[in-house]
């Protein structure tokens, strides 16, 4: 009984996600379940996953956030537009130059926050204001419409479209096979991890739990693979998102560097006295955020095929919301990449579902606000219970 309660608490958001998905599938008369909307869910939300990954790292260090990332996406769009469209720079070189600009900003921001002790929300509020203005100014100086287009195909191909694209009428076998391979890998990793634990005499999950977990993960993967295969193939952005998520999942759970983010959020002074350069970790949290913001800007430019002054509006809020709904502590010290992915997906599903239902955009915001607050309240209540027992 106790294990069930714990299992429920641990996977509560996942279950909410499934329920919400079913709800929207019913209310939209099955529209939500159509291949094109699976595709839309991913392409529309790719930016949230990547920004929220960076935001997660910042939040772990003690509930610190970056308000400037949305505006910085807009600014990077302007920089990319000027380089690639106005100056005609080779797209590979432009991508690299944009990254350099991002790293410079990340270093400045990291220095201000880590070494000059400027509160993160103030330092990034400055960026929030400045980069929106700067980006818009650059865009209107270089075009009459306030948006720069068209971007070269070589750039768009790298960050949008499909991998091994096929027409929607045809079933994309490559996509389906990738799904099968991914399923096999998941099954293999799960089984091996349990076998390892048993071999070394550690606490291991029950066989039932292993089978349920594996079957559910494979079902989810194959559902996506099947739907995407019918929608023309794997979206390129999905590849980017999966790569980023896997890398950061490894960093947060398996590396010393990642571990320090958690302990700083839990107790900064204790971490410092344990010989960790806490300022350096804070510095890297914001440098890393800037790097991921640049990657996000590639995806955003490619998706809209243009650099706009409105690009990236409220992205910082979406990233924060994704983290918080996904169980990342607003005080720092706890939260996982997996949780963040669930949280960001939940918000994406709600967005998409409400749009399909034709809910007014203003009311959509109300619903999102309520969901965000509900997630935090739930988190606090769940933790309170734990202390009592």
């Amino acid at each position: 009984m106790k294990i069930n309660a714990e299992f429920f608490k641990k996977n509560a958001m996942l279950m909410v996600l499934v329920l919400v998905y079913i709800f929207f599938t019913v209310t939209t008369g099955g529209q939500m379940f159509q291949p094109l909307n699976f595709n839309a869910l991913i392409t529309q939300n790719a930016y949230v996953y990547i920004l929220a990954t960076g935001m997660l790292m910042c939040m772990l260090t003690g509930g610190n956030i970056d308000l400037s990332c949305g505006s910085f996406v807009c600014f990077m769009g302007a920089v990319g537009g000027i380089l690639m469209v106005v100056k005609g720079v080779n797209s590979g070189v432009a991508v690299a130059l944009m990254m350099v600009v991002g790293i410079v900003y990340g270093c400045v921001l990291g220095y201000l926050i880590a070494y000059m002790n400027i509160p993160p929300w103030i330092a990034t509020l400055a960026g929030y204001l400045a980069f929106r203005g700067w980006g818009t100014a650059l865009l209107s100086a270089n075009s009459t419409t306030g948006s720069i287009a068209p971007f070269p195909d070589s750039f768009l191909k790298l960050f949008s479209g499909k991998v091994f694209s096929t027409p929607i009428t045809k079933f994309n076998y490559v996509c389906f096979i990738v799904g099968i391979i991914a399923s096999l890998i998941v099954a293999f990793v799960n089984v091996r991890s349990r076998a390892n634990k048993i071999k070394k005499g550690y606490e291991a999950e029950s066989v039932v739990s292993l089978v349920v977990k594996t079957v559910l993960s494979i079902a989810a993967i194959m559902l996506f693979a099947y739907k995407l295969a019918k929608a023309g193939g794997i979206p390129t952005v999905l590849v980017w998102v999966v790569v980023v998520v896997l890398i950061y999942n490894f960093i947060t759970s398996k590396t010393v560097f990642g571990r320090y983010f958690y302990t700083i959020g839990g107790n900064r002074e204790a971490t410092r006295l344990s010989g960790v350069d806490t300022n350096k970790i804070m510095f890297f949290a914001y440098l890393n955020m800037a790097v991921l913001t640049v990657i996000t800007s590639y995806l955003v430019i490619a998706r809209f095929q243009a650099a706009n002054s409105t690009a990236g509006t409220n992205y910082e809020m979406d990233a924060i919301a994704g983290c918080v709904v996904g169980g990342v502590s607003a005080y720092g010290g706890s939260g996982t990449i997996f949780g963040m992915v669930i949280g960001a997906t939940l918000i994406g599903v709600i967005n998409l579902g409400m749009s399909l239902m034709g809910v007014d955009a203003n009311w959509q915001k109300v619903v999102k606000g309520v969901v965000l607050l509900g997630a935090v309240v739930f988190d606090i209540l769940a933790n309170k219970d734990k202390k009592l027992s």
Partner: protein, 512 residues
């Protein structure tokens, strides 16, 4: 006989794992100054927190009878309404606000939602005069010295119509002259009929102002002495404070060979990080040999923690001068990492504040200071980390179902063991243990002592800071006595008695 203003009957207060107060009785008569004395952690402040409603009615057992009626305070407000006002050891003033604003903070003058500033400042000036301050109440708190700030606290209490004033270590941050002025002020208030309770470590002050003295020891009231019926001097009070048997509360060490000097500090001076002209540690020299336990005894605020943290990679203080030699080599440790690499460990007194990451598991805490020991190329070897945590859990007998347990869920004694495990895993040669048994029960204390003995048997050096006299005497080979930033004495354990250690401190306090 005067009327009894306050009576606390059979007060018992338990914290998870520790009985802080055990059947305490206290009687205070109207118009007297009553001193509460006892060692750190004896339960004096807890008792006053029970009285003032910091710990609400229902979280403790026993009765509080004040002015003839039984009181059940839920908040500090309730007790203040009755005229019981407590002035805490740490000043609770907002530096950026004026004296007047601070004085009526939470007790504002004027109509319900509109502050009457003229009334505020004229009233404030009136109370300032009563405590002998000539400053205008429009001056900012940060612009006056600590001595005057303490007086503002008292004026603030008067403004609340205090009938019973509780002063918790009022002179701990004051210099000689300011302390004297404060004590005289107390005597002046007494003449006007005010009742006061003073908590202090400075026994000369107790003798100077108090009518009655109640001794608190290990959470119980031991005795109450009346100045008017018995002769009271400092020695008599000390006897009451420490008078307990030291029998087998400390495990014996066998066959420990004391070797060469392992760590040596010479002419070590540290200044306060903010008030840089203030010396926190003043020209201290000490050493510790291999296999030796050196005790540093001193009361709270003597500069012990500051001394050790400044040695541990300059993690405290500014403008640090002096030389540090480890294993015969002079070193300059610029940060905690360098200190750890030089095989030094500092086990903090404040395990929740800067020792442990409470929201993380035992495993994560155990490896935190030595991640390279459980990882290769910065990738954590999860198995190894787990094994290390289990190994130390078994070695130190930490009581927990699994090492995945969050440290925040453990008792104080077990948290202390995790903290020790963390530092033992860095494989240090010299361990500085700052109050290693604070706030943990007797059984766990004994186990910590055994761990200390194992460490020195393995040839390591231990510097143990403690404000518990029996512990210092029972565990150390050699004892340094520290007071007001200076070392005021050094003695071998066999020569040390509680009385002559206290005498060292008293002598230095009087400037002899």
């Amino acid at each position: 006989m005067a009327k009894v203003l306050l009576e606390m009957k059979n007060i018992t207060k338990t914290f998870p794992g520790v009985k802080a107060l055990d059947n305490v009785n206290l009687k205070v008569e109207e118009g007297e100054i009553h001193a509460l004395v006892g060692e750190n952690g004896a339960g004096k402040s807890t008792l006053m927190n029970v009285l003032s409603g910091v710990y609400p009615f229902g979280t403790y057992e026993g009765d509080i009878i004040y002015d003839g009626e039984v009181c059940q305070f839920q908040t500090i407000k309730d007790s203040e309404k009755k005229g019981i006002v407590i002035i805490h050891q740490e000043l609770a003033l907002v530096p950026q606000m004026t004296i007047g604003e601070n004085m009526f903070l939470g007790n504002e003058r004027g109509k319900k939602n509109a502050i009457n500033w003229n009334e505020t400042y004229s009233e404030a000036d009136k109370y300032l005069k009563m405590v002998g301050l000539s400053e205008s109440s429009r001056v900012l708190i940060k612009d006056i010295g600590t001595g005057k700030q303490q007086l503002v606290e008292i004026a603030k209490a008067l403004a609340k119509q205090a009938k019973l004033l509780i002063l918790d270590e009022p002179t701990s941050s004051l210099n000689e002259t300011d302390s004297k002025a404060l004590l005289d002020l107390m005597l002046e208030f007494k003449k006007q009929g005010m009742t006061m309770i003073i908590i202090t470590h400075k026994l000369n002050e107790v003798v100077y102002v108090a009518d009655k003295i109640t001794v608190v020891r290990d959470g119980s009231t031991i005795e109450t002495m009346d100045k008017h019926t018995t002769e009271i001097d400092e020695a008599r009070i000390i006897k009451g404070m420490v008078g307990r048997e030291i029998t087998d509360r400390f495990p014996k060490r066998h066959d420990v060979v004391i070797g060469d000097v392992n760590l040596e500090v010479k002419d070590w001076t540290v200044h306060h990080p903010l008030y840089t002209e203030r010396k926190v540690v003043d020209n201290v020299s000490m050493n510790v040999k291999k296999g030796e336990v050196v005790g540093i005894y001193g009361l709270m605020g003597a500069g012990r923690t500051e001394l050790s943290m400044s040695i541990f990679g300059r993690s405290y203080g500014s403008d640090i001068t002096g030389t540090l030699t480890i294993n015969g080599k002079q070193v300059d440790l610029k940060n905690p990492r360098e200190a750890i690499d030089a095989k030094l460990a500092y086990v903090t007194e404040d395990r929740k504040g800067n020792g442990l990451v409470l929201s993380n598991s035992i495993k994560v805490n155990t490896s935190l200071a030595n991640m390279s020991g459980v990882s290769s190329k910065s990738v954590i070897d999860v198995d190894k980390e787990y094994q290390v945590a289990v190994e130390y859990k078994d070695k130190l007998k930490t009581k927990t179902p699994t090492v995945e347990q969050n440290v925040g869920n453990l008792s104080g004694g077990n948290q202390q063991k995790v903290l020790l495990a963390k530092w033992m895993f860095t494989d240090p040669d010299v361990l500085i243990l700052d109050e290693p048994t604070r706030g943990i029960d007797v059984g766990a204390k004994y186990e910590i002592y055994c761990i200390i003995n194992d460490l020195v048997s393995a040839g390591k050096s231990v510097i143990m800071i403690s404000s518990e006299l029996p512990e210092v005497i029972g565990m150390s080979d050699r004892i340094y006595i520290m007071n007001e930033g200076k070392f005021v004495g050094e003695m071998k354990a066999e020569d040390a008695t509680q009385e002559n250690i206290m005498a060292c401190i008293l002598k230095s306090g009087r400037g002899e």
